[in-house]
């Protein structure tokens, strides 16, 4: 029998605010001593008054709009109860039945083959603290609690069970992260825990309408882990069905080192969250005008930008996709095009940015914004190349030097003698010297072997270390050859 996986993802993303969700403690706690970025509110002391971070609501709304969601005119916070020491209040302030945004979608793939993944909801909540599990010499197991992360604004983005493979799950998260970064809502950095993912996975026989028993996989901390864990879980479930054991609805954790998912104990009451409306936080409303304002402030999204690059600059879909992978790269490319002022084709710029320049920054693991080749310098180089002042080999050498030092490409070309020589008076002597040294080729030409011209041009290029203009070299060679022929007895 063949089976079909059904996958839905819950993605948590920290919002890029300066202060926390309900208090004004700083979110810049990376590398800080434990519990130095906390106050009675984010430490869950009784009797405090939390106040919603306005910026967090704005960023969450941006995300909702970017994911094509309906923004709720009125939303509310609720208390989600579960007892665990990373949650100092005994509940997490979250949104339950009135979330900020509902019913959106993300489109995967490009024009060739598109897949639409539905978004159920986007809601705001707060991050938890962090626990370190320890054991004392006497064997007592205890936990150390650091609440610096407690109360950081968190977004939960829940997809429909529309995902059909592990690869598609990875693509979905990659796309989501790209959008979050474009609109500056989250760093999306999975290594730092700013983006985290849980996956709901089930399998069913192809053609069956009902879903199979659903397994939730926790602890997916990289796009690779997402793909591997889901791949593993699909295989495990199919084997369990075929062996007749069946699949049990449960929560499993991904063990990255071992490459397996493992059942977690004690989860039987996990859904018993006893939600109720948060009495300390009044509802939030979103007017049409405020929503419109946030919409207008939204950066151009990656899909739209990719399509614009194809239409406006005549790029191939692949080039456009590569150049719009991050907003920084797309901005860089468009700055180069602007600097060129149509003195060289935008496609030439695309080739050089995604080819040689990407090659250099990727080799050094640099962000393009940190490269010493500014858009202005790259435009200078491309203009010289396009105008025939330098050839492609020389341009590459100039790029590497400019990348290393930030010096002007023209300066580098002049200093290293890379400028093309198309001046007849400068090339004439070289051409005559080449002819003198190659009497056999000259004789062959006179016998009608036109091909030797190519060989002779090659000799001129060698003599000039590649800087001679091929056109000028050809013209001069033909002049000399026909001249000496006419003069022959």
């Amino acid at each position: 029998m063949s089976y079909e996986p059904v996958i839905g993802l819950e993605v948590h993303a920290q919002l890029q605010t300066r202060s926390k969700m309900f208090c004004r403690c700083s979110t810049q706690y990376a590398g800080a001593e434990p519990n130095t970025h906390i106050c009675p509110i984010c430490a869950g002391f009784p009797g405090v008054l939390p106040v919603v971070n306005r910026r967090a609501v704005e960023l969450a709304t941006r995300v909702g709009l970017a994911l094509n969601c309906e923004i709720s005119p009125s939303s509310r916070f609720d208390r989600k109860h579960y007892p665990y020491p990373d949650l100092p209040k005994g509940y997490q302030t979250s949104q339950y039945d009135l979330p900020l945004a509902l019913r959106g979608h993300v489109t995967l793939g490009d024009n060739g083959q598109q897949r639409r993944i539905g978004i159920v909801r986007v809601h705001m909540e707060e991050d938890t603290g962090r626990l370190l599990h320890r054991s004392s010499p006497s064997g007592e197991v205890y936990s150390l609690v650091d609440l610096n992360r407690s109360g950081v604004p968190l977004l939960e983005i829940v997809s429909e069970p529309d995902i059909r493979s592990a690869v598609e799950a990875r693509e979905y998260v990659t796309k989501l992260r790209q959008v979050l970064r474009y609109i500056e809502a989250s760093t999306g950095n999975m290594e730092e825990g700013a983006l985290r993912c849980d996956a709901n996975v089930s399998v069913r026989p192809v053609g069956q309408a009902e879903y199979g028993a659903k397994v939730e996989i926790k602890n997916l901390n990289s796009t690779r882990a997402i793909e591997r864990a889901i791949e593993y879980e699909i295989r495990r479930q199919i084997e369990a069905l075929e062996s007749g054991d069946g699949v049990r609805q449960e929560t499993r954790g991904w063990d990255d080192a071992a490459g397996v998912t493992l059942g977690q104990r004690g989860k039987e009451y996990a859904s018993d969250y006893r939600y109720f409306p948060e009495p300390d936080l009044p509802p939030l409303t979103m007017s049409e005008s405020r929503r419109g304002e946030i919409h207008r402030g939204l950066a151009e999204l990656p899909d739209a930008r990719r399509e614009r690059f194809v239409a406006l600059y005549g790029l191939t879909p692949q080039d456009a996709a590569d150049l719009t992978l991050t907003r920084e790269t797309a901005d860089y490319y468009e700055a180069v095009v602007a600097e060129l002022r149509e003195a060289a084709p935008a496609r030439l710029a695309a080739n050089w940015v995604r080819g040689p320049l990407f090659g250099l920054v990727n080799r050094d693991n640099l962000a393009i914004t940190d490269a010493r080749v500014s858009p202005k310098l790259l435009a200078e180089l491309l203009r010289m190349l396009h105008d025939g002042e330098v050839n492609a080999t020389a341009a590459r050498e100039m790029l590497e030097e400019t990348y290393r030092t930030g010096r002007s490409p023209r300066e580098v070309a002049v200093e290293r003698g890379l400028m093309q020589v198309s001046d007849a008076s400068a090339l004439g002597p070289v051409v005559r010297a080449v002819l003198e040294r190659n009497p056999k080729a000259v004789a062959d030409f006179r016998k009608g072997k036109q091909q030797v011209v190519g060989f002779l041009i090659g000799q001129v290029m060698r003599e000039t270390k590649g800087t001679a203009s091929q056109d000028t070299a050809r013209t001069l060679l033909l002049e000399e050859l026909s001249g000496s022929q006419a003069g022959a007895p």
Binding site: T17, R18, S19, R24, C25, S26, T27, Q28, E33, P34, N35, T36, H37, I38, C39, P40, A43, V51, V52, N53, R54, R55, A56, V57, S74, R76, H81, Y82, P83, Y84, P85, D86, L87, T128, L132, H133, V141, Y142, S143, L144, V145, D146, L147, K218, G253, Q264, R265, G266, K267, Y269, A270, D272, R274, P277, P279, L281, P282, P283, L284, T285
Partner: protein, 98 residues
């Protein structure tokens, strides 16, 4: 309003409370009374009243995203039953990872 003893034990386990059989019996009666009292309110006809989560008419109370100094760590840890360095120290709760 009747609660079963299983329901009382379940609620207690959610709050991580261990109850004796006598306590289950006592709480079964007390929680039942509370539920019964709340259920009386359900007898009111609220068909014409929009649902509300807030009894006072405020909305959209927000603060600007301007960080302010946090509390000194010693103040925050002053009432902690146990501390280790700058950490709160607590019994390990395993099997409930989020």
């Amino acid at each position: 309003m009747e609660l079963t003893s299983e329901e009382v034990r379940h609620i207690a386990s959610l709050a991580r409370l261990g109850l004796t059989d006598e306590e289950v019996e006592t709480l079964q009666a007390q929680l039942g009374d509370i539920l019964g009292h709340v259920n009386q309110l359900n007898e009111l006809d609220t068909g014409n009243i929009p649902p509300t989560a807030m009894v006072i008419a405020v909305q959209d109370v927000v603060a600007e995203d301007e960080p302010r100094p946090s509390f000194p760590v010693d103040v925050m840890l002053a009432n902690a039953p146990e501390r280790k360095g700058n950490y709160f120290r607590t019994k390990a709760v395993l099997g409930y990872e989020t």
